[in-house]
Symmetry: C2
Subunit: 146 residues, 2 copies
Amino acid sequence: MRTPGELSELFRANGRKVTAQRQCIFRVLEGDMTHPSAEAVHIAATREMETISLKTVYQTLHDLADLGEISSLDLGTGMIRFDPNVDDPHPHLVCRHCGKVRDLVAAFPDLQIPDGADLGFEVGSAEIVFRGLCPECRQSTLQLST
Amino acid sequence: MRTPGELSELFRANGRKVTAQRQCIFRVLEGDMTHPSAEAVHIAATREMETISLKTVYQTLHDLADLGEISSLDLGTGMIRFDPNVDDPHPHLVCRHCGKVRDLVAAFPDLQIPDGADLGFEVGSAEIVFRGLCPECRQSTLQLST
DNA sequence: GCCTTATCTACAATCAGTGTTGAAGAACAA
DNA sequence: TTGTTCTTCAACACTGATTGTAGATAAGGC
Ligand SMILES: [Mn+2]
Ligand SMILES: [Mn+2]
Ligand SMILES: [Zn+2]
Ligand SMILES: [Zn+2]
C-alpha cells in the first residue's frame, strides 16, 4: 500500500473524493501488520475520529481493495482480514485460537503446478497458510492442560 | 475416510448409534471428490432419504470431523467444505467464480518454516490454495469479454 | 458557488451456522 | 422383549459479519 498522501492522489485520479474519513483510514492502515478486520480498523479509526461509521470503513476498505492497494483475506477466522502488504506475496501464520494473523517473512519457493495437474483451472494466485497457536495462546492452553 | 461399514463400527465404538441417517451420509460422502458443503451433502442425502434434516447433516458432519474421518475446510467460498480425503495432505484448487474445489494431485515440497521465522507460533498444519477459474467458468467469462 | 459525491444515522435484510424445544422414533444392551 | 439412552425431526429464534436502503447533512473539487 502507498502512503496516505499517495493514496489521496490516487483517489482523486479515480474520481473519488478525499474525505477526512478516508484519510483517517489511510493513516490507520499505514504500517499495520496485524491484518485487521473491518471492525478493528473501525475501532482504531474511532480513536482519531469519534464519529466515523463502520459503514464508511467497509466502503473505503473495499475501495482500497478494488484499487489493489490492500488485499482482503478470508483465512477462516470468521472475519475478512485486510492486508496493506501487497507488494510481495507472503505466507501467513494464523492462530487457531484467537485468530491472530502474522506475515511469515521467509523466502518460499514459487509454487508451480506440474503440467496437466491443474485440471483445466486457470490459476491466478497461490496462498500458503500455516495454522497453529500464537505465543499468547500457547501460554493459556498450557495452563489448561496442567 | 473409511468405508461406511468401518465408520459404523467406529461410531459404535465411540458410543454413538448407527442410524439410517448417519449411514446415508456415510454413503453420500464415500468417494465424493467435490468437497461438498453441508447443504450439498444434504441435497445428495435427500435423494436417498427424503426426510433427512439439514440439522442432522450438520451434526453428523461434525461428528465425522471430530473423529478425524473428514476435514472441514474454510476456503473463503462462503460455506464450510468437507473433505473425506484426509489420508494424505494435498493442495486445493478453488474457483474464484463458482467456488468449485478440487484436489491438486501432485507432490509438493513439505513446507518448512526456517528457524526463528515462526514468530513463536506453534505451527500444526500448512495449507496451500490455488485460486483461479475452473474450466466451466473460464468458458463463461470468455464469452463476456468478447 | 455549484454540482457531485460521501457520510451519517438508523434500520432491515441476508446467509451460514448454531441453539432450543418437545415429541416421536430408533438403537442397543441386558 | 424390555427399558434406557440416544437421535431425529420440525419449527423456530438467534448469532454475527456483511450488505442494502433511505433521506438528510456535509463536504470535496472544479
Ligand atoms: Mn500479510
Ligand atoms: Mn481435498
Ligand atoms: Zn492466539
Ligand atoms: Zn468455476
